[in-house]
């Protein structure tokens, strides 16, 4: 991965690699900064926690950690402190990269400084391509505290060494670290460059949080092609007029958006006003099922020039394993109008992906994309990563059907896992946290369609003699202090009892049906 990045540096030293609010970091400068950081981290620093924010510094941090032979482990500074503690403990971090030493010290880790790179040249014109001349004028010299500029690949991290550690939802309430090896990232990013048809002329918006794996779909294919990665706060302003003007101003050609956000964008576009700027050629979506209604809205808009690509993948199988063009010039019938009833397929396997579909219809993924497992959790690992014919495979838990041309369609889950704003949530994890509240005896959590999007709904039974007035607000505040936002239910209802199955287990769907006004029981219950 780092070697391919270095090739981009050699081929395009003066092209813009990172663009942040008009400030530009060239490939050469990014390479220098990443190597300086790698030198500061030392050889093989192990799992490095990174206080990940949407800044060029964090991208430098990612590349620096990879170049040093370490593993990147993003820790969202906005997460509750308890969660951050649980994450760095589960991942076995010793070192933390952050702008200042505060976060590392609070978490009991060794701090390593990360930027800011105040010396970024402000004038993009200075960075216009200058052919193959070994120009030194655009990048200032390396900081004086850097005694050596180690050559990339000096540690020759192995293909099975971890590239990053990310967390997925587990029923115990503790974050579940997924270890992704370098060969999985290399194989996937190679496929993604092809899927996206990237060239050095592309300008890719960095939209995803640098705490989730989707960000690597944006960062790594772009930076291993010679394309520009654009970071801009207006992408997250919540205002679509501002978002669209930013896309036009920054001449963004590739957008990779969570499907839930794309749904909102389509709602906005369908109400009139300026459409997507003409510079956009590719829009990648993923994270949850594309809404048939929004797909129909999209295909009725003036969007025929834009490739709309649906994608599917799990953290355990590295970014994206399946993709398909739903609309636009890459689709089998480009002008197709979606009818508002047909479910969008999740796609066919990318070139590096090996797949099987079990008798129950479960999608099972093999090949280089399969992660190493859940760190420190051998039972959970054995439960999902299985050996078939001497090879390791990952059981996705997703039921699929296949069309004759190999395009898969999602047919539901084999377990209770749900997607909230594109993030996988085990309802058991939320129930475990709810039951940790001293006044709560039992809890059931389901995903329901509320206000047109998938949201978590919780039913809680108070302990005898617990104060029940305002218990819902109290529990909401309690959760917000302990878990990330995607694990906080949109609605908490205090109920006298939950519905149980014949075997005495909590019946989540049954509890939801009993305690919800009939007109609100709609959408998927999984």
């Amino acid at each position: 991965m780092i070697d391919v990045f270095t090739e981009s540096v050699i081929r395009h030293p003066d092209r813009p690699a990172l663009v942040h609010h008009g400030r530009v970091l060239s490939y050469r400068r990014l390479h220098e900064l990443a190597n300086t950081l790698a030198g500061r981290l030392g050889d093989r620093p192990g799992v490095v926690a990174v206080a990940a924010t949407r800044t060029p510094e964090t991208v430098v941090g990612l590349l620096g950690v990879l170049a040093s032979g370490g593993a990147y482990c993003p820790v969202d500074p906005a997460f509750p402190f308890e969660r951050q503690q649980a994450m760095v403990k589960a991942a076995g971090c010793r070192t933390m990269l952050a702008a200042d030493s505060g976060p590392a010290t609070r978490l009991g880790l060794v701090p390593v400084g990360l930027g800011p790179f105040a010396e970024l040249p402000a004038n993009p014109a200075e960075l216009a391509p200058t052919g193959n001349s070994p120009s030194h004028r655009a990048g200032p010299p390396a900081p004086p505290d850097n005694p050596r500029l180690p050559a990339p690949g000096r540690t020759a991290a192995g293909a099975e060494d971890p590239a990053y550690i990310l967390f997925t939802s587990g029923s115990t309430g503790r974050p579940k670290p997924v270890v992704t090896p370098r060969r999985a990232v290399s194989a996937t990013v190679h496929s993604l460059r092809g899927l996206f048809g990237l060239t050095p002329e592309d300008r890719v918006l960095q939209f995803a949080s640098l705490n989730w794996d989707t960000c690597f779909e944006e960062i790594l294919p772009a930076l291993t092609t010679g394309a520009a990665l654009v970071l801009d706060a207006e992408a997250h302003s919540g205002s679509f007029p501002r978002f669209l003007r930013m896309v036009e101003r920054e001449r963004i050609t590739v957008l990779d958006l969570p499907t839930a956000f794309w749904h909102e964008l389509v709602l906005h576009l369908a109400e009139g006003g300026p459409g997507l700027p003409a510079c956009v050629r590719l829009l990648v979506i993923g994270g949850e099922a594309a809404s048939p209604a929004r797909l129909a809205d999209w295909s009725a808009l003036d969007t025929g020039r834009i490739r709309l690509v649906n994608t599917y993948g799990c953290t355990e199988t590295t970014l994206i394993t399946h993709a398909v063009d739903l609309h636009g010039p890459g689709a089998p019938s480009p002008g197709r109008e979606w009818d508002g009833r047909t479910n969008a397929p999740i796609g066919r396997a990318l070139p590096h992906v090996v797949q099987r579909i079990s008798e129950q219809g479960e999608l099972i993924i093999g090949g280089p994309a399969v992660a190493l497992g859940y760190l420190g959790l051998p039972e959970a690992t054995a439960d999902r990563f299985t050996l078939l014919g001497g090879e390791r495979w990952f059981r996705t838990g997703d039921r699929v059907s296949s069309s004759p041309d190999g395009v898969l369609t999602h047919r539901g889950r084999l377990d209770g896992e749900v997607k909230i704003r594109g993030i996988r949530v085990d309802p058991g994890e939320v129930e475990a946290h709810l039951s940790g509240h001293p006044w709560i005896q039992a809890a059931a959590v389901v995903a329901a369609t509320l206000a047109g999007r998938s949201a978590l709904v919780a039913y809680v039974v108070p302990r005898p003699h617990a104060r029940t007035e305002a218990l819902d607000t109290e529990v909401l505040a309690y959760l917000r202090g302990r878990v990330p936002g995607h694990l906080v239910p949109s609605r908490i209802t205090v109920v006298p009892e939950l519905v149980l199955t014949a075997s005495g287990k909590v019946d989540r769907a049954g509890s939801h049906r009993r305690h919800t006004p009939p007109e609100q029981v709609k959408g998927d219950l999984r």
């Binding site: 679509f240 007029p241 704003r421 936002g485």
Partner: protein
């Protein structure tokens, strides 16, 4: 969108406080529609009624169309009620 018609009449040329009240009332309608919750009032907190950053964009789009003011998600977090947002609209005009 219904906001367009209800607000332009109320705020057009009216004194500031009256304009703000009319904006707040219009935003109550937006909250009720977006949250699918008829109980929302002028002082209801969007995030306590189950709103999140995702559907907050619908409220911000409604404000941009109906009031010609492009508020951000940060403005929304600082003033998550119809009354508070009406104040932000007045300040931005």
């Amino acid at each position: 969108m219904s906001v367009d018609t209800t607000t332009s009449a109320g705020s057009d040329g009216a004194p500031d406080s009256l304009g703000t009240d009319a904006d707040a009332e219009a935003l109550v309608a937006v909250f009720r529609r977006v949250l699918e919750n008829p109980a929302a009032g002028v002082d209801s907190d969007f995030f306590l009624l189950g709103g999140d950053s995702l559907i907050a964009t619908r409220v911000l789009s409604a404000i941009a169309r109906g009031h010609g003011v492009e508020l951000s998600f940060e403005d929304f977090l600082l003033a998550p009620t119809p009354r508070g947002l009406a104040g932000k609209i007045a300040a931005a005009r």
